[in-house]
Symmetry: C2
Subunit: 295 residues, 2 copies
């Protein structure tokens, strides 16, 4: 009977099943841009963890825009997904509380208000930036600069804070003209580095808030005939594949996207399976300064 049906090409409707069972076996992963090398690795690793339990993933690209962040959260609600992995650049994490309250598993990739049912997994970007800055200060002296992107984004703000924290810890008040805000892209790195090198007293070392910026900074150094790190040292953040492809290979902070994904997915899964039901759990993933050639 069942066999006959299956031979006839019958497949049970997951949507009817979902309506009845109130489970969709669907999660939604909302990231700024799947095109940025970090996120595919992250997404893949989340999928690899939840897949064996029958969960499949939908993706949202917000481009770090508020409207998109809200739209995907609404979509997640509407579609009755079982879980959401979210990283908000504009939307306060508090906006996730309601979703979580309504029974969907929510993992936020960033600082998260305690006391809710929202889980979180994140890196301590401020500490990472502080560590990298300290490394630069000790090795190349007080003439350090920062190129970073979007101030609104937690990643941007935290890394700037870490940079300033490390400067102050060494007794150097961070110099505003040496903190350049552009964009988290290679092009942003080009712009930022040009601005720094055009200063009356260019810096000896530059912390870039991510590897793409660092790549652009290296482009400019080469273009001006400067040797890295001999004339100017450059540090990135993320450790994307390109970090070992570029010459000189990039010294950078490794934030392991795969590990973040596994941890986030673990939190999500345990909640979706009902193994956990209380208050949010919060994981900080360790980072690591990888010293290569550029500083």
């Amino acid at each position: 009977m069942e066999k006959v049906a299956r031979d006839l090409g019958y497949t049970p409707s997951a949507v009817a099943q979902s309506l009845r069972s109130r489970r969709t076996y669907t999660i939604m992963i909302v990231v700024p841009d799947i095109t940025n090398a970090f996120w595919p690795v992250f997404a893949r690793s989340v999928q690899d963890v939840v897949g064996p339990d029958g969960y499949h993933a939908m993706f949202g690209n917000t481009d770090a825009r508020l409207a998109e962040e809200e739209a995907f959260l609404d979509e997640a609600r509407s579609r009755r997904v079982d879980g959401v992995v979210f990283i908000g650049f504009r939307l306060p994490a508090s906006r996730l509380v309601g979703l979580a309250e309504s029974g969907v598993a929510v993992v936020n990739l960033g600082e998260t208000p305690p006391g809710s049912r929202v889980d979180s997994a994140r890196f301590d970007d401020q500490a990472a930036a502080a560590q990298a800055t300290k490394y630069l200060l000790e090795r190349y002296g007080p003439s350090v600069a920062l190129i970073y992107g979007d101030e609104e984004a937690p990643a941007g703000r935290e890394r700037r804070l870490g940079f300033e924290e490390a400067c102050r810890a060494q007794g150097t008040e961070p110099d505003a003209t040496r903190i350049v805000k552009t964009a988290f892209t290679r092009e942003g790195g080009v712009t930022g580095m040009r601005r720094l090198l055009d200063l009356p007293q260019p810096p000896r070392a530059v912390l870039c808030a991510n590897d793409m910026i660092a790549l652009g900074a290296i482009d400019v150094a080469k273009e001006r005939g400067l040797r890295v790190p001999k004339d100017i040292a450059i540090v990135g953040h993320d450790d994307i594949d390109a970090a070992t492809i570029v010459t000189p290979q990039l010294t950078t902070t490794r934030t392991d996207a795969r590990l973040l994904g596994e941890q986030a997915a673990g939190l999500l899964l345990s909640r979706m399976k009902g193994e956990v039901d209380g208050e949010g759990r919060h994981i900080v993933i360790p980072h690591q300064l990888v010293v290569r050639e550029s500083a």
Copy 2:
């Protein structure tokens, strides 16, 4: 009334709507590995095209394995998705016919049997490889080699065919010892290049079946103190971001992932919206040899 409901936090259930309307506004994108730089760009561009019409995307990573390719197709059936974008490495394209027949919009990223309702968008990999090989032959003489990956994969086979076609067209019978099969990865490029350089008569120029292989090949050339392209010329395929990050910048065939995505999504969308209903349409996307520094 409706306003009150919405203020109370009510959101219509998309799953009930789907059951009723028989439309899920969901598409499934099945690729080998979202972690390979080409696919995020492709996926993003598909999403950007279908998103405005309310469609959202699920992703499947097959790792080019038959079981996964089948599993995701089954999942697509079961979930009653409105459309599928599929690239099969193991599964014959004919397996898509049934799905398409049952009313879901299907776009195959590869050669596709005519006479079905399956649409397709693809590059002509054979022609691309032939063109790149011809360039190498004209510029560096008959001593050319090929490093490629998976023979089962259409991309692998077609590129090898193109290489051989171009050799024969120049009157050189392709030399089997100079056709190395490894894997479509940087590591595969390392392995392949070592094998070629250890030959009694190493080649003067190497066609790599993708950029990752070419990156590995460049690693080996550097490690052995060979200058690229002075001592050995290297050409890639894909034009990933890393192609302009590596030194020397890679000469490669650009296959525009964004364009492929837009075209595929266009085909998909027109069918999902019922604007088209007949036999499959087939698009071949133009490629382009981008000459940079490595050859």
